[in-house]
Every structure is written in C-alpha cells, then in structure tokens.
Symmetry: C3
Subunit: 242 residues, 3 copies
C-alpha cells in the first residue's frame, strides 16, 4: 500500500477517506493478510495532517475532517492484518501516528529523516488517542517529554527510544519489510488477530466511547482565534520556504 | 518449593490444584516468609499448561481446568510471601507465567534455555491477565510483539528485554536465589506486603471481577472444532518428537 | 524556587503549606512560566516527609498533615509551569516525590547522593499516587521492585533506570537547569500546558476522586501501635546519628 498524495503525502480529508475505504476493502479481502505501508515519495513518509483542512474552514468541515482522522486511526490501529511501516523518509505528527499504528516499524537509516509527534511546536495539541498510541509504543515518560517539547527524532534516536524497531539502508527497506512480513505471516492468523485485539482493545474502546466529545473538543479548539492565527503564521512560513 | 511433575512439570489439573493448596498452606504458615520456585527436572522449568487437559474433554472439565489455572495465578501473583523464580530450564507459556508472577527472576545462563508466552504458535491466545502480567514486567510494546509472534527468548535475550532479572551459571542458581531471598527478607514484612498489594491490586481485581466471563470465554474458544483440530495436530507432533 | 527548611528540607506541615501557597502565587503570576526546584542546603535536596509530624500526634493533626502532602503533589504534578528539579543532594521518599513531579530532573553527578522512594525501609508504605507518579517515570517493573525493597539509587544508577534525566557536575547544576528551562520555554505555552494536562490528568483525577478515603487510610495506618513504635525506633536512631 503506497501512499500517493504528492508532494508530501499530506493527510487531507480526501486522502484520509480513500485511505480508510482502501483499508476496509483489504480487510474484507481474505487473500490479503498483511500490508506494508510506505511512501511513493521517498524522503517523506507522510507530512501528517493537512493544515489547510484546519484553517479558515467551517465547523462542519472541521467535524468531517476530524471524524476522518479518527476513522483512519480506528481502522489502522484495529486492523486484523499484519501492518508494517516502511518509513522511507521523515514522518512528523500524523505521519508518525500512521507508523505508530503499525505492528512493526522499519526506518531508513538516514539521520536526515526524523519522526515524532511534534504538534506542540505548531501550537496545537496531540489528542489523547495519539498520546495513548505513543505510550503503548515507547512508554509514558518518553511520551510525556516528547509531546511537551514536540520533539522530532532523527532515525538513530528514534531507534534508541523504541519509536521504530529497526533501521536499514534506504535501498533495503522494501526487501526487509517483505522479509519481516513473511515471518509474521507464519503465525496462525486467528490466534495472532485475537492477540492483537486483546492488546489494543482498551485503547481503541476509549476513543469509540468518546468519539463525539473528541470531535467537539477538536472543533472548539481549532476555531479559536488564537489557534487560527498561529496556524496561519505557520502556513505562511511553509509557503515562504518553498 | 520444587515443582515435581515428571518429566516436564506440565501444569495439569491435579498439579495446579496441589500447587494452589500447597501455596495456601505456606501463606498461612507464619514461619514461611518467602518461597523459591524451581524445577526438580533441570533443563525444563515448566512446560506450561498441560495440553492433554484441553483436548477431547467435556465443557465441565475445561471449566474446572481453567478455574484451577486462574486460582494458581491469583494465589501466586497475589502472594504475601517473597516469591523468587529460579528458572533452571526452558519455560514456555504457562511456565513463563509462573516466573512472571514472582517478585524476582533468576535464570540459568544457558542460551539453550528459552522463555516466553508462545501461545499463538500453538494457535491459541494468552488471556488478558497473562498479557497484563507480562506488560507489568516488560512493558506494552515488547509484550505486544512477543504475544503476536508467540516469541520464545533464549536466556540472554530474556535478560535484555527484562523478562528475567539476572542470569547466573547453572550451578549457582540455587545459592543466588537464597542470597537474593535473604536480601528481600530484611525489608519489614508488613510494609513490603502492603506495597506489593498496592502494586498488583488493579491487575488482580480485573480478573476477580471477570472470572466467570473469562472461564466462559476459554471454554467457548477451546471447544471450537478448529482449535481442537490444531491442538490435536500439535500433540501428534509432540509425540513424534519423543 | 529554593527550598529552605534547614537543615535538610524536611517536608513539615508548615513547609508544605508555604510551598503550596508559594506555588499557587507563581501559577497565577503570568510573568512566571517555569520554576527550578533546588535546595539551599547542597548535599540534601529534601529529606522527605517530616517524621515528627507522624509520631505521637492527634488524628486531626495527621489529617491536616496528609491533606497538605496531597495538596503539594496536586499543585506540583498538575502545575502549568515548566518544572525542573535541580537535585543537588540526596533525595529520599517525599524528596524523591518532589523530583518525580517535575518535568525534567537534573542530578549532581556524585555517587554519594542517592534518590528513591524508600518508605518500606521505615516500615511504612508509599500510597498509590506516589506509586503512580513513579510508574509514569520509570515504568511498572522498576517501580515494583524499588518500592518493595525501598531502594535508594546512587545518582549513576538513578540515571540508568530513568529516575533522573541527566547527571552534571555539581557546580554546573544551576546553569544546566537554566539552559534546559530556556529550551522548554521556546515551546508555545498554551499547547505545552494542554499537552501536560492530557498526560497527567488520569493520574491526578484518581487522587482527587479518592482524596478523603486516602486521608482516612493514612490516618488509620499511622495510628496503629506497631507503626508508631517502629517510627519511634527510627527517630531514636536518627537522633543518635547526630
């Protein structure tokens, strides 16, 4: 499953919707037992949530957008398939979340590539289920410091704190992902799926139960004047960079 | 407390029942403040739950068996005594659980000995309280990967991930366990016991509250045709090995 | 914020009350965005809860004292400010808790200084929220063993298990704390504060909900004859040391 949303795989409303539909189709397809998540634009795995979806839009739009972000997470983190992230580039914020939802993370051994939930640096806040997904992977203390600082980890540091499982040379990333997939698929499907569900159920149920409250929370936060202004400043800076 | 159920300390219904009764007696005995759990058959600490108890039996039998497994866990994980596992051999599945219930784990420094919750490899699933006990010891991420893959860890790897606390040469395992016990027994009993209970109460209460549901869950899982078949295949393979 | 309660910064009822009031004032003061917590008595960061407040007093006194301990924790662990502990000396029990409540811990690189929740060594028990704060920092397994043994960690060991984040030479501790503070204050305040609250809310709410029960629990424990006797013995030993 290659993500193709040039130039940087921003997670727009359209992209998220297609992603969830695509995932659901594969989920139903009995032939497909695992997916490798990677980017068609080497150098950037995914730039994360598309900020243009969060600036100057209506409350209805924000509601639809956030529901799509939730849907993507629910589908990917709760997938019955073996999910492997082949992280062939940088992966901030929502991009990091995609990786964290996978069962195994392989990253290109290139210190120019960094990964992390850096929301606070943009003046926004990772919601509780982003946080829970990160805690489940690297533990509470590392998560607390990372999220407070909005820290991005160059790949060697990401390996050290357990944010990714393995570094490989950039040209070996797909073959390694395929080899790991083969290994995971030797485990009886039914037992592996039930085990994964036992592991992730509590975290997933927490969002399911609070889904509407979480949307309201996001909408009331993102529509604040101060947040809109700080996101606009950030977008201007992004444009000037280009 | 030496486990003697030749040849491999399988946790049969009889063995589990005797184990829980024995533990309860020691618990009441004011003279006994700690136990060292080890195997009378060096090379194998415990082979785990006895599969013959899970194949071709009645629902009543499965119910009694699972209740006995729960009872063993409740008694050992909730013990007021200092519990030290002297792991003098391999320790898959239920054998690993015994070790995880202890306060401290010493393993023979022999890479031929491995330990882990490898249930998925047999096509079955570690219940939530096996999972919780492992998370409490090695954290969520290692547990998730271990349980999904049904991974067994040779002793040096087990030390690295924190599944055991210490490796010692095989002939030093009992003396080391005795020395560690002496150290733990210098702590005021009352404060140590209350502290242990504060640490483990949430995990234990979770099973206590769902005990019958967990039994029903096990019985309905284990009586499925597909599970019975895959366990029969596994037993045939075990017999052929001999 | 320098703690001055000579000779060893014991957390007495008066000291705790002043501490919480001082913290509240800084919290409201918009100019103050962060605090560095350190000791005016190098060699000892804080000796922890003042035992004289727990021996030979009335139930009313114990109630007031314990409420003040809770208040300090609620205020410091829940602070909106960046909190950095510059641990310039040993820090047992309540002193360790102060450090654990901070966002970042720098300790003097002197193996003669040790830190830990060593309550069990005194025959008393760290309450669940001390335990939760420690688990949030170093994980469940390390906490379980530390609390059961009442273990104190010399600074190098404290770094190894993650009980502190960084060791620096004793004369560099204030300048390092100031540099780290500068870094943390570059993050947008609003996003950092919300993130911190998302991280710590569950742990804090747990005590808020059980505050009175926790006080009753403490009072009924501390007024036991056996506990009073063992604390008296401990106090005698402390006096003889001087």
């Amino acid at each position: 499953m290659k993500m193709k949303n040039p130039p940087v795989n921003r997670l727009s409303l359209d992209f998220l919707t297609e992603f969830s539909i695509g995932l659901e189709k594969l989920e139903i397809d009995r032939v497909c037992r695992g997916i490798i998540l990677t980017s068609a634009s080497p150098g950037i795995f995914s730039a994360g949530l598309d900020i243009t979806e969060m600036v100057g839009k209506s409350a209805e739009h924000y509601t639809a957008f956030w529901r799509a972000v939730q849907e993507m997470w629910l589908k990917l983190y709760g997938s019955n398939m073996v999910t492997i992230a082949a992280i062939n580039g940088s992966s901030p914020a929502g991009g990091c979340l995609l990786a964290l939802c996978s069962d195994y993370r392989i990253m290109a051994d290139n210190p120019a590539y960094a990964i992390g939930l850096n929301e606070t640096q943009l003046g926004i806040v990772a919601p509780f289920w982003f946080k829970d997904t990160m805690i489940n992977t690297v533990g509470n203390r590392v998560t607390e410091q990372s999220l407070q600082l909005g820290q991005m980890y160059p790949s060697p540091d990401a390996l050290k704190i357990g944010l990714v499982d393995q570094l490989v040379p950039e040209d070996k990333i797909q073959s390694t992902a395929a080899a790991i997939m083969t290994k995971w698929l030797t485990v009886p499907d039914h037992a592996r799926q039930l085990t994964k569900s036992v592991m992730r159920k509590t975290t997933i149920d927490k969002l399911v139960k609070q889904r509407e409250a979480d949307i309201n929370n996001f909408v009331s936060f993102i529509t604040r004047d101060s947040i809109q202004k700080s996101l606009q400043v950030y977008m201007e800076r992004l444009k000037q960079k280009k």
